[in-house]
């Protein structure tokens, strides 16, 4: 009511301008804005430089990794790859102290388990925070957000005491998996997504039809959460795959993850960089494949949620 009474008064106070000129000026303004927002050749050139800079270290790694140990110490740089990549890669794979296949399998096991666990528990908690009313939910959510800023890796000494001395899990993959099973960031991410994209009416409809809480979660909450859950899984997978600090402390050469194996490779072959950098390429290939398959989702995930893993 108030709105309808206000509208005529404002129309009286501000007389409407003649429509035609207004429309024309708007159109011309938009046209100019578009013109100015058109990328210049300089813009493209800049991006090409940035992307070449992003790819160059990987290319360099392949250059060295496909040469031999003598080619490193030459003063003239060979800008084309040599033919020794496979033999260097074989040296990495066959080095018994590096345990390459074991490391690859371990990285897959740890990253998959951690991603699945984080997504499951984050979806459950995020659904509750976003869509269910319960006493204490506000302070709990604030607690979750506050813990996102706490660097949990500062607790490595007690973590080591607990995992190694109390539970006897030194060198065991469980020691890497257990501390990573939940993530405050994951809960926050799913809460944000579900509160924006899951309408309350859907949940109410399921409840009226007599579905229990868990059935409602399973048949309404989970399908709605799927896109955000997939992105979260990607980020957690990559963060776990590239994680070094804690695995380096608790795992040993007999049972490493890939980054730990790379560190072993460096201490074994520090003279011969062609083998070390062949190992770098080998260990990076799995994530590059993942990037080709899911790079688009990564881009939109970062742009939707401002994530940092």
């Amino acid at each position: 009511m108030t709105a309808t009474t206000e509208r005529p008064t404002s129309a009286v106070l501000v007389p409407p301008r003649p429509p035609a000129p207004v429309r024309r000026s708007r159109a011309s303004r938009r046209g100019r804005a578009l013109a100015s927002n058109k990328p210049s050749a300089l813009g493209y050139a800049f991006l090409v430089v940035v992307i070449l800079g992003s790819l160059f270290p990987l290319y360099w790694s392949f250059l060295i990794g496909s040469g031999d140990s003598s080619s490193i110490n030459r003063q003239d740089i060979d800008w084309l790859p040599g033919g020794n990549f496979l033999s260097n890669a074989a040296k990495v794979i066959n080095d018994p102290s590096v345990n390459f296949w074991r490391a690859l399998a371990n990285s897959l096991i740890v990253s998959t388990t951690v991603a699945a666990s984080v997504v499951t528990f984050s979806t459950l908690a995020g659904y509750a925070f976003a869509k269910l009313r319960f006493r204490g939910s506000k302070p709990m959510l604030i607690f979750v957000i506050a813990t996102m800023a706490v660097p949990t890796q500062l607790g490595i000494v007690p973590l080591f005491i607990a995992m190694s001395q109390w539970l006897g899990l030194s060198g065991n993959l469980l020691a890497v998996i257990l501390p990573a099973l939940v993530s405050a960031f994951g809960v926050f991410w799913m809460t944000q997504y579900l509160s924006q994209s899951l309408p309350d009416e859907l949940i109410e409809a399921a409840r009226v039809d007599g579905a229990s809480m868990i059935r409602t979660f399973w048949h309404v909450g989970v399908p709605a959460a799927r896109p955000a859950a997939a992105m979260l899984a990607l980020f957690i997978f990559i963060a776990t795959w590239t994680n070094f600090f804690w695995p380096f402390i608790i795992l040993d050469s007999s049972n490493p993850t890939l980054p730990v194996a790379l560190s072993l490779l460096q201490s074994n072959f520090f003279i011969d960089y062609s083998i070390v950098l062949a190992g770098v390429i080998l260990s990076t290939i799995p994530l590059l494949v993942l990037f080709v398959v899911a790079g688009k989702q990564l881009v939109s995930g970062i742009m939707q949620g401002a994530v940092k893993g």
């Binding site: 740089i77 660097p151 607790g155 490595i156 973590l159 405050a184 994530l287």
Partner: protein
């Protein structure tokens, strides 16, 4: 008559039981759903952090375990170590050398990506490639490129007639090399965060500025940057928390992993690692725990300073824009 009432009674009771169950279902379910997170976080996140405080006031060794109560002795010991202060200096230096150019470059990349590009996804994915290279791998590649004797960078410097730089042997060059690794991995990532924020800036602002005769650079500084204030704060805070804890890159910068012959690039987290788990003189859990708490407090203080500084800078920027 009596049988009918019995049936009715049963039905009523069944409904009543259903109601009670439903009420409990509604009441308890939310707590059940959030409890796995809180229980696991308490065990694996909160407990280690608090127990670090406990360990830090005892004489505690990896082999002997808990020893005598020493009060703040471990903190005094750590603060009296020259290496601790060197590592603190190095961490700050590497952090500044990475954070500042990274944010500036990411803003510029984002501004270019914000234009009406052809095949947007290609360019966006292109700047993100380094993100999937593990820090350990990045460190191995760059430690080769920044090799003191036969490294690519010194080779190229030599070709244009410059003297080789001691990228490993000297303090500031080693920080520059490590900061370059961090920038390599995170600049594109942060550019995409900024890009998302830029796309939320109403286009009318730019139209208005253009009518006032503002050029592109002026628009960028007076409209884009102030509008990104919350995002800037977010990126700067997260890169502070991450940057001051840097470990992977400096640890892998040479094969010894000790931060250089005279601790040129020893960082605080490396110092904590060496106290707790290092090959020589390691196993000092009391010292490591004390150093971890000191780092934690430093991160909180620097985070708060950053927050205050970013707020002032960004709001003064928006004031000058209006």
């Amino acid at each position: 008559m009596s049988t009918l009432s019995l049936v009715e009674e049963r039905a009523v009771r069944r409904i009543a039981i259903g109601h009670t169950l439903n009420r409990w279902d509604v009441k308890l379910s939310p707590y059940l759903y959030v409890s796995p997170f809180f229980v696991l976080f308490a065990l694996t996140g909160l407990f280690p952090l608090l127990y670090t405080a406990y360990v830090s006031v005892f004489d505690w060794h990896i082999i002997g375990g808990q020893g005598d109560f020493v009060g703040l002795g471990n903190f005094e010991w750590v603060l009296a170590q020259e290496k601790f202060w060197i590592s603190l200096r190095n961490s700050f230096s590497i952090f500044l050398l990475s954070a500042v150019p990274q944010v500036i470059l990411a803003l510029i990349i984002a501004a270019v990506l914000d234009q009406n590009l052809r095949s947007k996804t290609f360019w966006r994915m292109g700047v993100l490639v380094p993100y999937v290279v593990a820090p350990v791998a990045v460190a191995l590649i760059f430690s080769n490129m920044f090799g003191d004797q036969y490294g690519l960078i010194n080779n190229l410097l030599g070709r244009i007639g410059l003297d080789p730089v001691g990228w490993h042997s000297q303090v500031v060059p080693s920080h520059l090399a490590i900061a370059t690794m961090v920038n390599f991995r995170w600049t594109g990532y942060n550019a995409l965060i900024f890009l998302a924020a830029m796309q939320a800036v109403p286009r009318d602002y730019y139209e208005a500025a253009m009518l006032d005769g503002a050029g592109r650079v002026r628009q960028f500084l007076s409209i884009t940057v102030p509008s990104l204030r919350p995002t800037l704060i977010f990126v700067i805070i997260t890169s502070t928390i991450g940057g001051l804890q840097i470990f992977d890159e400096p640890r892998m910068y040479d094969s010894a992993g000790t931060g250089g012959a005279s601790s040129q690039w020893l960082t605080i987290t490396m110092y904590i690692y060496n106290q707790g788990f290092g090959p020589a003189g390691g196993g000092q859990f009391g010292h490591a725990a004390a150093a971890a708490w000191i780092l934690f407090l430093i991160i909180i203080v620097v985070g708060l300073i950053n927050l205050a500084a970013t707020r002032t800078i960004a709001s003064s920027g928006s004031r000058s824009a209006s």
